[in-house]
Symmetry: C2
Subunit: 177 residues, 2 copies
Amino acid sequence: MTAEGTNELDFLSFVDFAVAATSSELQDVDPVAMRLVLSLHRVTSALVYDLESAVHRPRGLSWPGFRVLFVVWLAGPLESKRVAALSGMSRAAVSALVNTLEKAGLVSRRPSPHDRRAVVLALTPEGHEVITRDYLAHNEREQAWADSLTPGERRTLIGLLDKLMTGRAAREANRRT
Amino acid sequence: MTAEGTNELDFLSFVDFAVAATSSELQDVDPVAMRLVLSLHRVTSALVYDLESAVHRPRGLSWPGFRVLFVVWLAGPLESKRVAALSGMSRAAVSALVNTLEKAGLVSRRPSPHDRRAVVLALTPEGHEVITRDYLAHNEREQAWADSLTPGERRTLIGLLDKLMTGRAAREANRRT
DNA sequence: CCTCCGTGATCAAAGCTTTGACTACTTTGT
DNA sequence: ACAAAGTAGTCAAAGCTTTGATCACGGAGG
């Protein structure tokens, strides 16, 4: 089974190959769970790489920078801690990232009026300008991806992802601190 | 609409909030495409973080290290370039990562017999030992996530992800070099 | 009041990522 | 045969991530 046609493999078709190859090496592996996770990871990687390289980098934002700006844009002046929770990053990562965004003049740091330990993050006018422009291009690219599915399929996929996200494994899962 | 109940938001429920908030700021945004991409990214992030922190780190592997080992295990011995293509990383990233894996005694580098520029990567016996043990634990955790869905839902989800992966946007998308 | 413990933000070290440059080699075309 | 163009791997700089300290502040009990 090994080394046969291994040369036509690519990032996409590797999923099929991997499921077959693993079953032959290991018993007790669930091929459906394997394929599910592998597909999820590969689609998402490809999607994020495409969005970052086609939309955000050309406009001067990194993918993490976009995520922070997006959260601050929508959920509005917000404590650093909450930005971390909503963007799915660690507090340390937000702190480091905001150094960059602050230097770029997109985000401002202010002390919180109610807690002198806390820092409130807000968009500067320029940051607001940047994220709205950027997000329009982002959403256009999102639509291009969504167009691969019918409207019904889109709803189904969103529903299944929600179910995964609220399921038992997700609740038990390790979370970022 | 802003700043109302913003305090009960978390990483999961932010999706709903974001879709509503964006529509009120921008017209011409497709809320379904937005929700699709946001859900995909959030589920996958949570899943990868859980797998890395619960399975791989405790066993001494990083997530990228696992990916390389996994590819070399299944498709291996393989040129460095092909490992990059199959694992979805850049050639430079593979090169840097293999430095670590080689020091750890898990992967070996050999010159290719047919092309003196190329390097062939293979698992050491210890690397084989590590990845088989590690992958068994990985797959157990994958099963825990897959258990949130019925068997039919799993098949449906895999099918929809495949369709996204082979659709037009994915084919046009920027790819790693 | 004031000690004790919890929490918010930041820093530090180590690792991985990216792009772009560079070297060594191979392939192509004349 | 040989120059030109392309390709494999690596390196370097800059950025982002993680965990684990550290420091400042807040809240509750004695």
